[in-house]
């Protein structure tokens, strides 16, 4: 913290700033109007991810507005001296996938990006959160941001997860329990044996969706898993002496007996594979359960609940398992990492894609795409009838061509099932890569535990 303002927000110094094409152009315009430079260009990293096509990336982007946005980002990065991983660059990918895998996200950092899923980086024990474009401009102009102090919440998940239950199911379960507003105003620390036993990839998924409970950010204290992940990276920008950096990172954890404003405890054993039935990420149930009769216990459902089920074409009380689906999307900053594609591949191996399903298989980055090739995953996908696309945010927010048509059902490993999120009229069912894979091969909502390969 640089300075505390009396009765106001704190001035927070930002160690790492990520930018992308959609929420940065207006910020650069602001700098131009003021005639000021980027204060610390070496602390900002840029990528094109939100609106880019996932096919034929070597060609010009067809959509004129999207092309213009990407070109503006390239131009701005050049003008202001910012490192840019554009389309076709070997380091290109979704901003929250490339940050960790390229070693730009390190324990103890303060990290912001004009994107709500910046909370992802909290998996490394960072203070990471999404900001608006005005704040992007502030960071570019001063490397600082004004932030009110959030309240602190601790969510502990103890115990062992059942087979077929993933970190996506953990976070979807928590959000279904506390609602999309349950974390608003809080910074959340995730802890407990079910969390510490997770890989870095799985932890990133948990922190990624902390924004879906309204939280400002989510974090997990760095431990041996974190250090091992960092130690295996080919290089870490700005870190010359790994051992020295490591000894600093090892000091980062909540103090013993730290006081939280709110503490919640869950049991990992009570979590099943999850799926959403409504139009916000809090409307989730176990994949073998029935849709609730009402969102208000013992009372008539709210207008929002009725509107939501109408939009989805579902009825209160109905079972989801067995309901036919049309699309499957695996990818996004939530589940677009190598482990996710391994899990999906493991389930579809030796099976065939259902004829009624269109699948969008979108790696989170060029590096993930490379690994998929190296590990022979692409071959497994192709043998099962799936086509693997090129990296990008794709159908998670459908700014590019990867839209789900009106009224169609998509089982999606992304993070938001809002009305129209995957295209106007699209019906999104959020789930883990395993549940998505089960739907992809059966053509209907299916409990992945029935299909697991050993």
């Amino acid at each position: 913290m640089v300075r505390s303002i009396k009765d106001g927000p704190d001035v927070l110094y930002i160690d790492r700033h990520y930018i992308h094409e959609v929420t940065s152009p207006q910020a650069f315009n602001g700098l131009k109007q003021r005639g000021i430079p980027v204060f610390r260009p070496e602390r900002t990293i840029a990528t094109a991810d939100h609106n880019i096509p996932t096919k034929d990336q070597h060609l010009t982007i067809r959509d004129e507005l999207s092309r213009n946005q990407v070109e503006r980002l390239a131009e701005n990065c050049k003008t202001y001296g910012i490192e840019y991983f554009g389309l076709n660059h070997s380091k290109n990918g979704i901003v929250h996938v490339i940050g960790p895998e390229l070693g730009y996200t390190l324990p103890g950092m303060t990290i912001v990006c004009g994107d709500s899923h910046t909370s992802t980086h909290g998996a490394f024990g960072t203070i990471a959160f999404g900001i608006g474009t005005s704040e992007v401009e502030m960071v570019l102009a001063s490397q600082c941001i004004l932030q009110p102090k959030p309240k602190k919440m601790k969510i502990t998940i103890n115990g062992k997860l059942h087979k077929g239950v993933t970190s996506k199911d953990i976070i979807m379960y928590i959000i279904s329990e506390i609602s999309t507003a349950g974390g608003t105003g809080y910074f959340v620390e995730f802890a407990g044996s079910a969390i510490t036993s997770l890989s870095m990839e799985a932890r990133l998924t948990i922190c990624n969706m902390s924004i879906e409970m309204g939280a400002r950010g989510g974090l997990i204290a760095p431990d041996e898993t974190t250090f091992e992940y960092l130690g295996k990276l080919p290089s870490i920008p700005g870190v010359k002496d790994f051992e020295k950096a490591l000894s600093g990172w090892k000091t980062l954890k909540s103090d013993e007996g730290a006081v939280f404003d709110k503490e919640l405890v869950f049991d990992a054993a009570s979590i099943k594979p999850m799926i959403t039935y409504g139009t916000n990420p809090g409307m989730g149930i176990a994949v073998d359960a029935s849709i609730p009769i009402s969102d208000v216990k013992g009372n008539n459902p709210s207008a929002s609940f009725i509107k939501s089920l109408d939009y989805m074409g579902f009825k209160p009380g109905m079972k989801l398992a067995g309901h036919p689906i049309d699309y499957v999307f695996i990818g996004s900053c939530t589940n677009g990492r190598i482990e996710d594609f391994r899990a999906f591949a493991n389930l579809i191996k030796g099976k065939k894609k259902a004829a009624n399903v269109t699948a969008l298989i979108v790696p989170g980055s060029k590096l993930v795409e490379e690994l998929m090739k190296k590990e022979g995953l692409i071959k497994i996908y192709e043998e099962a009838g799936f086509e693997v696309r090129q990296p990008g945010c794709s159908s998670c927010l459908a700014m590019n061509e990867d839209k789900i048509p009106v009224g169609k059902y998509a089982v999606s490993t992304s993070n938001r099932n809002f009305e129209g999120r995957q295209g106007p009229g699209a019906r999104t069912l959020l789930a883990s890569p395993l549940t998505a894979a089960a739907a992809a091969v059966t053509g209907k909502i299916t409990d992945p535990r029935d299909l697991l390969n050993d």
Partner: protein
Amino acid sequence: MINHTLKITHMPKEKFEILESTCVPLPLENVDTDQIIPARFLSATSREGFGENLFRDWRYSKTGEKNSDFILNKSEFKGKVLVAGKNFGSGSSREHAVWAIFDYGFRAVVSSFFADIFRNNSLNNGLLPIIISEELLKKLHTLIQNDPSTKVRIDLEKQTFTILPTGDVARFEINAYKKECLLKGLDDIDFLLSMKDQITVYETNKSMVK
């Protein structure tokens, strides 16, 4: 507090002092920023013009006709105050949502609960987010539905929200720094730029610790 002699490096924003207006009611809960402005309209590179696509998919049918059931298409409901439901502005951090609401003509949004990033974005753009109790919000929605000419008065200096016909007065919270920014039409960048020396000192100290 803000340094009053700050050099303003841009056009000052619109000041917010007292607002008296009728309201547009949107009593739905969990309205996310994807509904306020769908992602397919985020390809612009300026801040202007987003108002025409505010609540696009609720305002227009799939074939592009105005949906007569939606509140913005009902001529009796007008005004500069959007009265929303609980957990308004959740989801994506897109500031475009605030630009769209502002561009459409709203200057304040009232709810019992706002998503964090949306609230920050609003304050950074001269759109005042006002939190009132759930009971008062419910009452206000009923009043407006029964009589669309129901006016409210917002006094930022005094931090009061008044429903004029009933005389209900609620005090709303806003941090003193942000309040002053809104009253004067200043923004954070002027403040941060004035702190550059301190920021540089901070950087030096930090690198010495490492």
